[in-house]
């Protein structure tokens, strides 16, 4: 049988269509205008792309607002005069802190130090302690991590693979499982009263950091090291003059991520710091949250503290967002 065109299959005439089919046809006209072709109407690919782009932008911008708005709310709420107006803030508080003594919009920000003082907490000291907890262990720990990464990536020594898996297996131990034993160790060493518990352990390096830098170094050519060796450079010199500069992008990314992690750390200092003198900023803000300095109208000041605790991290993130995003994306593509 030869093929024949079935004419009766083509819905040509308006009158032959049922009511539902008419609605369908109308919808098809609409969708074809948006770029989706159908059996009734053809449509352009260009228009489809524009339509989908618009939908994409609308969704992404809505989600971006959901992600950003709470931060705006925090800033606006911290400028309110009392708790009631703080809570009802939507875009801007009904009454701002300008009505308070001094007519200063940032009244609650200027009140923070005194408020912390009323709870026997020293705000500026806690900022310094936070910096100490985030800088000292991270910088020293990065050097030791890079040393280990260098050895794992470029040196041949007996037992390398065993040591590598010995270290790598440690990441399977969840922190909360051993935190009590860690506390007992630090307590026995009397590190809990003076903040050493937050500084010294980090100085020995972190396994994941070492692993990340090792992956980075592994891809670099070994010939540089060979050439340096032939020229008479020792391993220590190779490490300082070649490996550290070469691995700088990976080290920088890990530095920022570790710094942010240490600055935001809450469970660690909560357990391992027993003296109020050595509270980091996170603990001071959390302590203020439950007490409000005995007056609920200090709530905007607590909010102001929360905003100030966010700022260093957000500034770092804004400055190094390319490095941070890049290194996270790198982790994703490696898996």
């Amino acid at each position: 049988m030869t093929e024949e065109i079935r004419v009766d299959n083509i819905p040509a005439e308006e009158e032959q269509l049922s009511f539902l089919q008419k609605i369908h046809k109308g919808l098809c006209k609409f969708t074809s205008w948006l770029g989706f072709g159908s059996k009734y109407y053809k449509s352009s690919k260009h228009r489809k792309k524009i339509f989908l782009d618009v939908v994409t932008y609308v969704i992404l911008i809505l989600v971006a607002i959901v992600m950003i708005y709470p931060f705006w709310w925090m800033i606006a709420a911290s400028l309110a005069n009392n708790m009631q107006n703080m809570l009802s803030t939507f875009v801007w508080p009904k009454t701002t802190a300008t009505v308070l003594r001094g007519g200063n919009l940032f009244y609650h920000y200027s009140n923070i130090v005194a408020l912390a003082q009323s709870q026997q907490l020293d705000y500026w000291r806690s900022v310094g302690v936070s910096l100490l907890y985030s800088l000292a262990p991270v910088i020293v720990g990065l050097i030791t991590s890079t040393m280990a990464a260098f050895a794992f990536a470029k040196l041949n020594f007996k037992g390398k693979n065993v040591v590598f898996f010995y270290c790598l297996a440690a990441i399977m131990v969840p922190g909360p499982s051993i935190m009590i034993a860690q506390y007992c160790i630090y307590d026995a060493l009397s590190w809990t009263g003076n903040g050493l518990a937050m500084i010294i352990p980090g100085m020995f390096g972190a396994v994941l950091t070492a692993f990340f830098i090792r992956q980075y170094l592994y891809g670099l050519p070994t010939s540089i090291i060979e050439a340096a060796k032939i020229d008479g450079a020792g391993y220590w010199r190779i490490f300082w003059t070649f490996i550290i500069p070469l691995a700088m992008p990976a080290i920088a990314a890990q530095f920022i991520l570790s710094f942010i992690g240490c600055w935001n750390n809450y469970l660690g200092p909560l357990l391992f710091v027993s003296s109020r003198d050595w509270y980091p900023l996170a603990l001071v803000v959390a302590a203020m949250d439950t007490s409000y300095g005995a007056d609920v109208n200090n709530a905007p000041a607590v909010m102001a503290m929360a905003v100030l605790a966010l700022i260093p991290v957000l500034v770092l993130f804004a400055a190094f967002q390319k490095t941070i995003i890049g290194s996270i994306m790198l982790t994703g593509s490696k898996e």
Binding site: F71, S88, T331, G332
Partner: protein, 342 residues
């Protein structure tokens, strides 16, 4: 012939060995230096790992067999006193309810707390599948050929880098009594009118999902970038539409990334502590900061017994049980994943 020659050679070799004085093993100075320096470079990491992780783990298991608490004993004295209950200690924590003075089961003993908080931790993880689906959707949208996708990636990552303490304060006020949420919807989540245990838990889930979205979006974007373009092109030439291409081409190549995200977020999800603790306080606790056991996660129970009762033995046992649970969950996921391939 050949055998004879071989045998002759062998005897010659044996004689040579027997006759010659044992050769001094030549130590290659370069190899020795590399070995020494290699060990020097790794030694700090090895010491750190050994002391602060493995030693702590061993100590933690050991302590769980004692009855060590802050009772004036030093750690070393306490470690010597293995409790007579021995292994039953763990069993007791998990399965035996507490008795009151009259010897009746009160129903609110340590095993009740144990199971309630464990279920809470698992409940807080319902944010993981929701978050994965949302982040997959948004990652696909961001990976479309549009301008400004980098800006969206940065914006979505902001909550992830923010301090949990600050976020928790903001959350308490947004979703608490007289907060915006209650004003608009007439129902407070964290506190206020109509707030229940379930709405309190949901508030935590929303928070963790919101905070964790950026990270998984970034990882999935990286995964989507890695999908082989020529495979997609071949599929479209064969007449596959976008939907089919996504599920049949992109999805299988994206699966390792998704699996990685799920495994790491389940491991992290079982360890949830800071968010509920900051919003609701700790359990078991005293005074105004005492939370209900119904919203406390498992790690919160460990912390509560550490902070309020200083019962280090109990905390160690709970911690070890948590590690086993996390290990089992991870193994189950890997088993399911390997089954999928078969």
């Amino acid at each position: 012939m050949e055998e004879q020659v071989l045998a002759a050679e062998q005897t010659a070799a044996e004689q040579a060995v027997a006759v010659d004085p044992p050769k001094k093993r030549r130590v290659n100075r370069a190899v020795l230096a590399e070995n020494l320096w290699g060990w020097f470079f790794v030694i700090f990491l090895v010491i750190g790992t050994t002391v602060f992780i493995y030693l702590s783990l061993v100590l933690s298991i050991w302590m769980s067999f004692t009855d060590y608490s802050a009772d004036g004993r030093t750690l070393w004295d306490a470690l010597g006193d293995i409790h007579s209950d021995g292994f039953l200690h763990w069993y007791k924590y998990m399965f035996s309810p507490q008795y009151n003075a009259a010897g009746d089961v009160t129903g609110t003993g340590i095993s009740h707390d144990f199971w309630t908080t464990l279920v809470n931790s698992v409940f807080y993880m319902i944010g993981i599948p929701i978050g994965m689906a949302l982040s997959l959707f948004f990652a696909v949208l961001i990976s479309r050929d549009i301008k400004g996708s980098g800006a969206f990636r940065v914006i979505y990552y902001i909550p992830t880098v923010s301090s949990t303490v600050s976020i928790a304060i903001m959350w308490t006020n947004l979703f608490g009594a007289n907060g915006l949420w209650e004003t608009w919807f007439g129902k407070g989540l964290v506190s206020g009118t109509g707030s229940t245990v379930w709405s309190q838990k949901v508030a935590v889930v929303i928070m963790t999902t919101w905070k964790g979205l950026g990270g998984s979006i970034l990882l999935l974007c990286a995964g989507l970038n890695g999908v082989n373009e020529s495979h997609k092109e071949a599929a479209s030439i064969d007449g596959a539409n976008a939907w089919t291409t996504f599920w049949r081409i992109s999805m299988p190549q994206l699966w390792p990334t998704i699996f990685y995200c799920i495994v790491t977020s389940v491991i992290g999800g079982m360890q949830i502590f800071a968010e509920p603790q900051l919003i609701y306080g700790y359990y078991p606790g005293t005074g105004a900061v005492s939370a209900s056991v119904d919203v406390t996660p498992f790690v919160g129970l460990i912390y509560g017994h550490y902070y309020t009762n200083h019962n280090f033995a109990l905390c160690s046992a709970l911690g070890f049980i948590l590690m086993i649970i996390i290990l089992l969950l991870t193994l189950v996921q890997f088993a399911i994943d390997s089954r999928r391939d078969a």
